[in-house]
Symmetry: C2
Subunit: 497 residues, 2 copies
Amino acid sequence: METPDASPAYQKLLTLGRELQLAGDVSALLGWDQEVLLTGKGVAYRGEQMAWLSGWIHEQFVDPEVGEWIEAAAEEASGDIEQSNVRHWHRNWTHATCLSKQLVKDLTETRVLAQAAWAEARKKADFSIFAPLLTKSIELTREKAERWGYEEVLYDALVDEFERGATTKKLTATLGSLRTELVPVVAEACGRESFDQSRITSGHYPVSAQEAFNREVAEAIGFDFEAGRIDTAVHPFCSGMGPGDTRLTTRYNEHDFRSSFFGVLHEAGHGLYEQGLRAEHRGQPVGEAASLGVHESQSRLWENHVGRSRAFWERWWPRAVHYFPHLKSLTLEEWMRSINDASLSHIRVEADEVTYDLHILLRFELEKAIFSGELAIQDIPAVWNERFESYFGLPVPSDDLGCLQDIHWSMGIFGYFPTYSLGNINAAHLMRAVCGQDSEVAREMDGGNYGGLLSWLRRSVHQVGSQIPPEEVIARAAGSPASSAAMIAHLRARYLG
Amino acid sequence: METPDASPAYQKLLTLGRELQLAGDVSALLGWDQEVLLTGKGVAYRGEQMAWLSGWIHEQFVDPEVGEWIEAAAEEASGDIEQSNVRHWHRNWTHATCLSKQLVKDLTETRVLAQAAWAEARKKADFSIFAPLLTKSIELTREKAERWGYEEVLYDALVDEFERGATTKKLTATLGSLRTELVPVVAEACGRESFDQSRITSGHYPVSAQEAFNREVAEAIGFDFEAGRIDTAVHPFCSGMGPGDTRLTTRYNEHDFRSSFFGVLHEAGHGLYEQGLRAEHRGQPVGEAASLGVHESQSRLWENHVGRSRAFWERWWPRAVHYFPHLKSLTLEEWMRSINDASLSHIRVEADEVTYDLHILLRFELEKAIFSGELAIQDIPAVWNERFESYFGLPVPSDDLGCLQDIHWSMGIFGYFPTYSLGNINAAHLMRAVCGQDSEVAREMDGGNYGGLLSWLRRSVHQVGSQIPPEEVIARAAGSPASSAAMIAHLRARYLG
């Protein structure tokens, strides 16, 4: 916070930013507590608390005086950090202030109604229940995007909100080439004999043993338990709620410990990023994670590239057998096949590493078509099912296994899906850069030491925060712009090798 | 919140009060989380969050405009509730605004330093380390009390802060007569043969069994687990952080489950009070607990009057033996003796029901003498030790077992101790009123049904909140003003019967 040479306006923004961050992190704790601990009768009051807090934060920030500070600070900003902060503030302030109160209110109300309608529609596998509110939500989102502005097409404004600098054109190119290369890999990998998973799921894996194993591994990859925790929640997530306080959640299945194990590795990847952000930048835009696509690269990197690798399990297989004696009936080779088993299926969140991005591509294409006006709402189920069958070779028996499976649209979240694929692409690209030929980091990891990898990520990604755009974060870290090449090579080696 | 006929000023106060309550309850969660979950590296940032929040709450409330609203509302207040709210607001606002910023700052700073000095002094059993900051703290407290004002003696202002309406004179009378009657009871009860506690502490009581037993009993007495939780913390406490969210903490000793068991009963007593406050009054002064002395009556009632009674254990002894098979070696009679064993000892927080209030009397007398100027700071250890020996018949070997044992003075808390004894007196007085001759409630409890007792407390105490002064709450509930008679009768019956 000490920037003695900065302009008075910049100093005021730093002070305000810190205060709003304190409040925002309080709100994160309220949300975390609601997911993890809060009992049923406390929910209504918690809602009132959270609405009060977010309303207060919004009100402080949209004050016209803040706009004047930003303008004044822009004129005098010197140095990369200051300039980057001012650019972020300017954009955030403009985005927050250009929406009318009525629009914000309509968006909030529609979200509540749409979520309820979606839940019912999914339950009954009946798209018509969801369609009217989805239509309304899309209309409002369109209005929001118009106000925010965009360069070429309206969908640009939506993806840019989650991934600064991303455009429809760039994403179409990136994901399009991913698709082209992915299709033959999927065909071959899914054509192989699948592993008999009942050999694992016939065992019993007590929660306490899962907790102990998860913790041991999370600690080994560098998650700092003096600065965070793992708790149980229905929905697994990671919440970085301040320097020294990053919390992961997971859920336990006593017939398949892999769900909590890889879940914790995934969330710990997010958590390592949060723990690696510069504490002294907390409350400044540059101190935040670069984007969703970068965040997801960190979770995928630890979950898939590290956690499903042969080298990793040469180190950890004996510990797994120690915690779960049922595994004695498997060889390490069989175990490796069990965790790297590709198959075509309907549900995105259950998909494996090979087929996952086909699910994303489908959603990306549909979202583009919706916002360009080419796809009418009532046609979504038919188009979804037709395209799904052409990608996956499977018919969609009902819409709960199709276009009603994801919560995102019901929450008014459009343009988010592509960041999952960017995360996968970025993860592979980063791993190739740091673990390429003759890599000391890779040798260390073969010995079960992940410190070299983490240090490199800290330096190249985590501590950079949002000082530069997300694409640039990856490009500078890896030495070249991300492309799907590394990811395809990784999948070929792992699944077809 | 719906009071359509109230004045605009009153409406504004309701709105502000609700908002400050939301914020205050957020602060309660931050504090609870820090005690129960927060990891070490998150503490500094949490401190910053809590300071921000309490500063914000204070700032909103001390606004001169709020004073004007209170004045306007006072002129038009109609009905008991409105008038009571306005009286509370007036007092709270006056108390908050009459202290200079410098004084508040000095009090805060001295508290931090004094706590550190006290901790060191206690560790080294050296009062001289604590004396300078205790002197400073007492000086500042004196200044605070002068600004708040009082009727007869300065100490009145201090006790009134924790127990509205209490005065030095009244407390001297109440606690003086308690002492007179208590002395022979103590002598006789402590003269009896003591129980060999190693027959219990030689067992092993797993935490999971303690948790299950505690929960079963807390549920049976009416604690609503849909509106609260029990967690583990170093310091046992109860925090009511909103309608539907009351949290208890306890700590476990695997060699003596009674510490967590009676701890949970005690905190559940506080918790039942919090759960019984009127949700629709949350954010209004009338919706708050009446006082510390009333709060403590609820915890003591469930812990001692219910939880250490013969009738209670006739119901629960088989369950205790079920959870803790080690207890099979004891008869119910022996168990009853083990939990109602009086003895003279140095430490207040470890004292039994019979001797506890002698500890309080000692502190009350010393505090009075300090603030009347009769007792100089440097003489505290000598006077403490002399008086302790005359009350307890035991010499004080070192000050960590004497005047350095409690944290209160180091936190600048003076005038709080007497509320513990008021709690004991009130608890016995309430129990005599509701469980007197031919009481349906008492008969139900003999059968293990505590619903009648709880309903009566809800109606007579909990839902009354702070609508009337604490003394009156007890008097109206019991049908007569509290006195030590019921408590002495209770102790005689239990310990000398």
